[in-house]
Symmetry: none
Subunit: 192 residues, 2 copies
């Protein structure tokens, strides 16, 4: 194992979180970070017992997904249909995996991924369709509209203010769930 003297690499460099223009690097980054995202999702699920679903569509239209217990299961939970009610949703959760599950976990991830890919094969063109729906809905998302309306000149000042607001938004966001006005009607949706 010879160890050449000089630096063998520049090591990880800091990059701005904005679209990567170089196609090559963008693709490489996509693959790496997608894997990383799935791993994080998996760990979150394993550690806390939460149900997690992640769906990713690359620019090329390829779909990837990860889910515990499965993407579909979590999505069912996310979108309970009135008529179908009684989707009480599951405390379900992954059981306890063993220790050397590193490989199993990776395999599991790969399986989920493949599954999503296959499913996406038929929904390839949906990326376009999705945008139609969104566009048809009318206005852009409010935060986009507002931000863009500000103009770049005002952004710096606005950004500074946002730094403070960010904390408030976060706090408010979390408060919404727990402090949200409970549905007036006596009917109460069971929520585990």
């Amino acid at each position: 194992m010879v160890r050449p003297r000089g630096r063998q690499s520049m090591g990880r460099q800091r990059i701005a979180i904005r679209r990567i223009e170089a196609k090559d690097r963008r693709q490489v980054t996509f693959s790496k970070r997608r894997a990383g995202l799935f791993k994080k999702a998996s760990e979150l699920s394993m550690l806390t017992g939460a149900s997690v679903a992640v769906v990713v569509f690359s620019e090329a239209g390829h779909a990837f997904g990860f889910g515990d217990p499965s993407v579909d299961a979590v999505l069912r939970c996310y979108a309970p249909v009135p008529g179908d009610a009684a989707a009480p949703v599951p405390p379900l959760r992954g059981a306890g995996f063993g220790e050397g599950d590193d490989d199993l976990e990776a395999l599991r991830r790969a399986a989920e991924e493949t599954k999503a890919q296959v499913a996406a094969e038929q929904s390839r063109m949906c990326e376009v369709a999705e945008k139609i729906v969104v566009a048809k809905a009318g206005r852009q998302f409010w935060w986009e509209a507002d931000v863009e309306a500000l103009g770049e000149a005002e952004l710096p000042e606005f950004a500074r203010a946002l730094e403070k607001l960010r904390a408030n938004v976060h706090r408010h966001a979390n408060a919404l769930l727990s402090a949200q006005p409970p549905p007036p009607p006596p009917q109460q949706q069971q929520q585990q």
Copy 2:
């Protein structure tokens, strides 16, 4: 800023990726890692222009979500609706932000998060939500008003779309991988 002599903290410790038994820590870890996961998802989207949707259900049954352009938009894509497709459409995606977008990005993320949370939470009781028409015109802060208005306004359409979505997801899942436990139309609660 005195600097006490001894180590101020043990620093990050390595932990096994298995269910955290201590309830307190489990919850803390959930919050931290959920935030981290959303951030990663956001970055993946920003860097590569991919569409990403993440839905998380805590053990307590609380729903959290992140999506770009939005959770439901991506999910719609995941489950294509045959009769609802086709037609070119403007990008609307990665808007071109300035340089100091660090704060803007954070806000955008928080906004997405908030919106998704509200949508996810309310979608679980959409029957009730459909009847609720609230005029929160008295809000002092634009983000509060808009966030709440958005969730309520989009709910009906959202719910309707999801009804079809779910059916498609099931159909695809069953057709593509017979390994998936048959989720009959009627209610069913499957484990794992």
